[in-house]
């Protein structure tokens, strides 16, 4: 066989630039962690309470609900789709699990709720995975439809767990495991599990492939529809888990409890550097993204700012973080578009 093949000019340079150790590429890989560190240092300077172990635990515990959902949505986004229905789905699952709790006990309630939530995820999955409809619009439609379902189910009434003191259901939102608040444990264990799923299993590889190039994935024998379908099941399952934490933490639920969560969840995923185009992303970085959102909210509150200042800061942080990420990947700060 002929041995001489010339590498294409320009290519080695690009490879070098990516793997090189200059400041840009450090940003490319770890920009989000650096931003995270900067925030923590910044808040720590301005508020002496910020860095207390108690406060840090509070923030992580508060972030757990959005965090668990964001992990599920990260999987969907890596697969090249969006899931905006998770907000309504959280309302649905929380109302369901709380309402069923007093009727059939915690264990069965959780199982029935998870089954119902997975059914909603399956509808998303069928429409996006098998019918190949645009995920933004499908999940937008589901956002509205599920909110209606919740209200029809509950008749618009709040639901409450009557006997709050004597149910083991309390452990998920209020309890502790080895001295660590259960929501934190659920959040981190879930993150770790999904991280392993995405990075070390055949399924994970298939999701990256389908998100990166769906046609090539099909040409490689991957059942694209099934993979997409499964990502929606994962997202629904994650939402179900978040609902258990939420329901247990509040011991009751309003019908609109998840309203607006879909965009916060997406903000966390985006801050974690997952590309909306699909095919790339990292579950653990989503955790960092969600924590940044949590710390912004908590830190500004501790510093005495009005709650709406956090929206303004989130705006700036989202754009700066994603900008740096994008800039590092292309090797220049500003877009080359004329």
């Amino acid at each position: 066989m002929v041995a001489e093949t010339k590498p294409e000019a320009g290519r080695p340079a690009r490879i070098r630039r990516r793997t090189g150790s200059n400041a840009m590429s450090v940003f490319a890989k770890q920009g989000i962690l650096i931003a995270f560190a900067l925030f923590i240092v910044g808040f720590a300077i301005f508020s002496d309470r910020f860095l207390s172990a108690e406060n840090l635990m509070t923030v992580i515990r508060q972030s757990a609900i959005i965090g668990v959902m964001a992990i599920g949505v990260t999987v969907v986004v890596i697969g090249g789709n969006l899931d905006l229905s998770v907000g309504s789905m959280l309302s649905f699952s929380t109302v369901l699990v709380v309402d069923l709790h007093d009727q059939m006990g915690p264990g069965l309630a959780i199982l029935v709720m998870l089954a119902a939530t997975l059914c909603l995820g399956a509808v998303n999955g069928l429409l996006v995975g098998y019918a190949r409809l645009n995920s933004l619009i499908v999940t937008l439609g589901m956002l509205s439809a599920i909110q209606g379902l919740v209200l029809i189910y509950s008749g618009g009434q709040n639901v409450d767990i009557v006997n709050q003191e004597s149910t083991w259901f309390a452990i998920f939102g209020r309890g502790y495991v080895f001295g660590i608040a259960t929501p934190i444990v659920i959040f981190l264990v879930f993150a770790l599990l999904v991280h392993v799923l995405m990075s070390s299993t055949a399924f994970g590889r298939r999701v990256y492939a389908v998100g990166g190039n769906p046609t090539a994935a099909v040409f490689s024998g991957i059942r694209r529809s099934r993979v997409v379908f499964t990502t929606y099941l994962i997202s629904a399952f994650a939402t179900g888990c978040a609902a258990v934490i939420l329901g247990s933490r509040v011991m009751g639920s309003q019908n609109n409890v998840g309203q607006g969560y879909e965009l916060l969840v997406l903000a966390g995923v985006i801050l974690g550097g997952t590309s909306l185009l699909g095919g790339s992303g990292n579950v653990l970085k989503t955790v960092v993204g969600v924590l940044i959102l949590g710390f912004i909210q908590n830190g500004l509150l501790l510093m005495g700012f009005a709650y709406y200042v956090q929206w303004l800061v989130t705006w700036i942080v989202i754009i700066l973080a994603v900008w740096l990420d994008v800039a590092a990947k292309r090797g220049r700060l500003f877009s080359p578009i004329a």
């Binding site: 001489e4 000019a9 690009r14 070390s200 492939a209 190039n213 090539a216 490689s220 095919g279």
Partner: protein, 503 residues
């Protein structure tokens, strides 16, 4: 010729990208009325040079002259205004706009309030399309045109200005032979009008058909200019890669085994009808025909991407229904698809992950992917196919076309298929890699694979195949053994002339 004023002249162009000198003092000229071919392997610097010419890149050193006037070309629009037009390889048209709008994109004629002057636009575009002998009107939406007609729109763009030099970048990549003839007529017309043509192509036959002179680049440096009429393929190839290539007809007859795959009256309306063929172990079956003759569609049907409307597929003499690519893979059929970037690879993934993608479900230890097994497979096929990549972690999108294609082939070899279908094995890759891939296909056949090769390049089909199936408009026109095939009867068969219709 040299006493003429060049239409376009480059002098000592240097262009560096961080870490690499893409162009190293290249000088080049094209005379009015001349077709000057530019050759070089992928990565030799052709694209960079072309982009410098078209105002898309700025040279670090060196000067550009148009009719001996030194010019600076900061944008493509400036280049166009000064009479240098680039016709892109990949169609760059806006589908939802009319042909006329695409032709005058960026400089639509205006009336008051920024309104488009449709009358002028259609009149001028119509004139140009007429000149190109196009059978569609300027108000046709581009999305309704065939690929060849889209290419015409692309070419029409060059004629909107008083062009001094027109650069064609691989213009025939998606054209049928008949359409090529039209294109060459257009190039000749342009030449007759005194326009200088820069013609970039991998296809040696075209270059010898159309060019007057040719220049060769290698590793970003200028290697020499030859007068086409006074040279031959060998000399050019040597100049390009520093050695000569064997590109002869296939005369080897391998030991053939049993029939591995057979199609009986296979139809997929309206793409192809009543197709019969078989391929034996150790045999290379070539499919030759024009674009749209139904070859790729047959491959897609065998691979489960389409369901046949009637007929049978037999694998090892047993009838099978291939439901999906996953099913095809399970049955031992592999397809190296036509378009490696769109169908073959996940460009953002690394080499190893791409290569093991079809079998990732089997490469597991417990629930996890077995890393070691994966790397072992990658290493094995990297060595066997001599893939040049910095490491298995390298992102596939950063590799050269030839190496990308080898990854796709490796990916399917690693499946150890019974039947390997290769659709356009060497499209868009350079001469050196081409020959490697041809040798590889032969070698695989010798080791017992049943191989189907689909190609639009006649030398390629002649070079690798034991038998050739000629297709025309969805039907098999004739089947040739390598002894009976000639270029003439093959061309006739795929043009629907003569040939026995295999019903």
């Amino acid at each position: 010729m040299t006493d003429q004023t060049p239409a376009l002249r480059l002098d000592g162009i240097v262009k560096t990208f961080p870490g690499v000198r893409a162009l190293d003092g290249v000088s080049f000229e094209v005379l009015p009325g001349e077709c000057h071919a530019l050759l070089g392997e992928n990565g030799a610097g052709k694209s960079t040079l072309m982009k410098v010419l078209a105002g898309m890149h700025q040279p670090d050193e060196g000067r550009i002259f148009i009719e001996e006037q030194e010019v600076v070309l900061p944008t493509p629009l400036d280049a166009k205004a000064k009479g240098v037009v680039l016709i892109h390889q990949e169609l760059s048209l806006a589908e939802e706009m009319t042909a006329a709008e695409n032709i005058f994109l960026g400089e639509l004629p205006r009336k008051r309030f920024g309104m488009v002057d449709w009358k002028t636009l259609f009149a001028r575009a119509g004139e140009i399309l007429k000149k190109l002998n196009c059978d569609f009107g300027p108000e046709t939406k581009v999305s309704r045109l065939s690929i060849a007609k889209k290419q015409m729109v692309e070419i029409a763009r060059a004629l909107t200005v008083d062009a001094k030099a027109v650069i064609f970048d691989e213009p025939t990549a998606s054209l049928t032979d008949a359409e090529k003839v039209v294109l060459f007529d257009i190039i000749r017309d342009l030449k007759a009008d005194g326009v200088g043509i820069v013609y970039i192509s991998h296809r040696m036959d075209e270059i010898f058909t159309i060019s007057d002179r040719l220049s060769v680049l290698r590793d970003g440096a200028y290697r020499g200019t030859l007068v086409t009429a006074e040279t031959d393929e060998d000399e050019v190839t040597r100049l390009m890669i520093g050695r000569s290539l064997d590109y002869s007809r296939n005369v080897q007859h391998a030991e053939l085994g049993d029939i591995a795959l057979e199609a009986r009256n296979l139809s997929c309306d309206p793409l192809f009808r009543d197709v019969n063929f078989h391929v034996r172990q150790g045999e290379v079956l070539g499919f030759y025909g024009l674009v749209g003759a139904g070859r790729t569609e047959i491959a897609e049907t065998l691979f489960g991407l389409r369901h046949p409307s009637s007929g049978q597929i037999l694998l090892d003499r047993e009838e099978v229904h291939v439901a999906s690519p996953a099913d095809a893979i399970a049955r031992g059929i592999s397809l190296v698809p036509e378009s490696r970037k769109e169908q073959g690879l996940v460009l953002g993934m690394n080499c190893r992950d791409n290569m093991t993608l079809p079998q990732i479900g089997d490469l597991t230890a417990g629930p996890f992917v077995a890393n070691g097994a994966e790397i072992a497979i990658y290493d094995q096929y990297r060595d066997r196919l001599e893939i040049k990549a910095p490491s298995w972690r390298s992102i596939v999108g950063n590799l050269s076309g030839g190496n990308q294609q080898k990854i796709v082939i490796g990916k399917w070899l690693a499946m150890k298929p019974r039947v390997l279908i290769v659709d356009e094995p060497t499209r868009g890759i350079d001469v050196g890699s081409k020959s490697e891939i041809h040798n590889l296909i032969r070698e695989l056949a010798r080791s017992g694979y049943a191989i189907i090769v689909i190609s639009s390049e006649m030398p390629e089909v002649l070079h690798v195949s034991d038998r050739i199936v000629a297709m025309y408009q969805g039907r098999v026109m004739r089947e040739f053994t390598s002894d009976e095939v000639t270029e003439d009867n093959l061309v006739q068969a795929i043009s629907g002339i003569g040939g026995e219709r295999a019903a």
